[in-house]
């Protein structure tokens, strides 16, 4: 195409020139040309799919034939409301997502602080890469690694044995899920917190100290408020990723998550797409509230 552009004949050259000038004079035309394909695809497919999810939640399965019936009704939501099992599963999922989020904030904040404000620039780059690589390296592999580590003959019990400590049976428990979730999402927390901490100008901290604030006061009144958008951005990831995960419960847990119920009803033995869709509106609603609140906290600048 580029070669064609250089040795094109005069008439096409003039036409292209005119077209180009027309675009340059009308910025809205350029904007529209750039935006129509991606936004069109996004609205048609992604928002369309979310719309389909909502519509499917009001459908039903014919009790006799087990086939999808496109009739509207609140039957799925009524089942959800009345079955305590589904409440328990939702509660467990949201509770663990919250626990994992808090854990990751506590682990990530001192680490990010060290990276951004104590480590030398060289060490900072090294640490950055050391956090980035696990984030991108295979998600399944990292869960699988913990399945092997926590198993009865795994590395954990081997180390405990070496230290003369009693064997632990963590495999396939909620504790295992907590550890594994905290592990796989940790980099998603570290990076935005680091970015927020790194942006705080040194002069702010010097000013705070000049005004007589102790280290802890400076931390609480200057550093924490300025780092908050980064922390909130990190919690969006850890919370949302835990909420929507069903692989970790399958591989290292022994209890059900919201995602497992959805998965089982769409791809498992008990096909009931409408019910799965209705159940999926719970994490969707939780995240919608969370995202609106996060946006207020300015977390989207930090994403």
């Amino acid at each position: 195409m580029a070669a064609g552009a250089e040795d094109a004949g005069r008439p096409t050259w003039a036409a292209r020139r005119r077209l180009s000038a027309a675009f340059w004079r009308r910025p809205w035309l350029r904007a529209a040309a750039l935006l129509t394909p991606p936004v069109g695809a996004y609205v048609l497919i992604y928002l369309g799919a979310l719309g389909a999810l909502f519509i499917a939640a009001f459908w039903a399965l014919d009790p006799l034939s087990g086939e999808l019936v496109h009739t509207w009704g609140f039957g799925n939501f009524r089942t959800l409301w009345q079955e305590h099992t589904y409440w328990r599963i939702a509660g467990r999922t949201i509770g663990l997502a919250a626990a994992v989020t808090v854990t990751d904030v506590l682990i990530a904040f001192p680490f990010a602080y060290y990276m951004a404000r104590v480590a030398s620039p060289r060490l900072r780059t090294v640490l950055f890469v050391l956090v980035l690589l696990p984030l991108w390296s295979s998600y399944l592999a990292r869960i699988y690694a913990w399945r092997l580590i926590l198993s009865k003959d795994g590395a954990l019990n081997w180390s405990l044995g070496g230290l003369g400590l009693p064997e632990q049976h963590l495999a396939y428990t909620n504790w295992a899920m907590w550890i594994v979730f905290a592990y796989i999402w940790l980099p998603f927390m570290i990076l935005p917190v680091y970015a927020a901490l790194e942006r705080i100008p040194d002069s702010y901290i010097e000013a705070s100290r000049d005004l007589g604030a102790k280290n802890w006061t400076t931390m609480r009144r200057i550093v924490l408020p300025l780092a908050l958008p980064g922390v909130v951005a990190g919690t969006i990831f850890t919370f949302s990723l835990t909420l929507g995960d069903y692989i970790t419960p399958i591989l290292v847990g022994n209890t059900q998550f919201i995602g497992n119920v959805v998965y089982r009803n769409v791809l498992g033995l008990t096909y009931n797409l409408p019910f799965a869709a209705a159940y999926a509106t719970i994490p969707l609603a939780v995240m919608a509230i969370y995202l609106v609140a996060a946006r207020r906290a300015g977390a989207f600048e930090a994403l």
């Binding site: 552009a5 991606p38 640490l127 295979s138 699988y144």
Partner: protein
Amino acid sequence: MQGRAGRAGLAVWALLVVLFLWVPLAIILVYAFNTSNIQSWPIPGFTLKWFRVAWEDEEARTALLLSLKAAFAATAVALVLGTMVAVAVSRFRFFGRETLSFLLVLPIALPGVITGIALSSFYTFWGVPFSLWTIVIGHSTFCVVIVYNNVLARLRRTSPSLVEASMDLGADGWQTFRFITFPVLSTALISGALLAFALSFDEVIVTLFTAGAQNTLPIWILGKIRLGQQLPEVNAVVFVVIVLTVIPVVVSQRLTQDSGLLRRR
């Protein structure tokens, strides 16, 4: 700013976190060379035979091929669409610009299972049969954001006067894109593409909902782990997957380090 004890404490914490992040990865990499069929620690000896076994497994190879095809296609779609939005968002002010950048983040900010079942409902709704393309569409939803973020970050750091200068010197729109905008963006594009590729190649939560009966490599791995079958072979495949996802990230990281030439300040 802390005293000595504070700094030392933070340094120890940083070391512990790095160990926490890397020891499990190191362990899983070592398991790939296990001579035994039994997955216990420590492994009794080292062998390379599982890599050969994995390579000769027809099913695994088919799954790898599908994963590569899906990742290439999703990356291509994400490159085109993500760049278009990023250029529009950085160069124009228009109604709904803030909302647009919010909406684009949704596929990665919403739980994966929602994107999965939403697309599954969508395909059922329109009667779309599962194919390579249903997987590609699913992956594109979140790969677009990755490219968009990379390109937008680069555009924000480069001055729009470069484009104006090119036009003043008589270049038309295409020439300006070809000789100015594209070279400025090129490393950001490569970096975004590599990250999108790594993300797509590894994705399993959404893919299970959009693949039907097809096996991508992560789906194949998941199936084997769940059933506890052919685990030594899985370990070798997992080793390859980790390496395949880490290389693009390292390269991408190097590419986005600024040359300093095109900075705005």
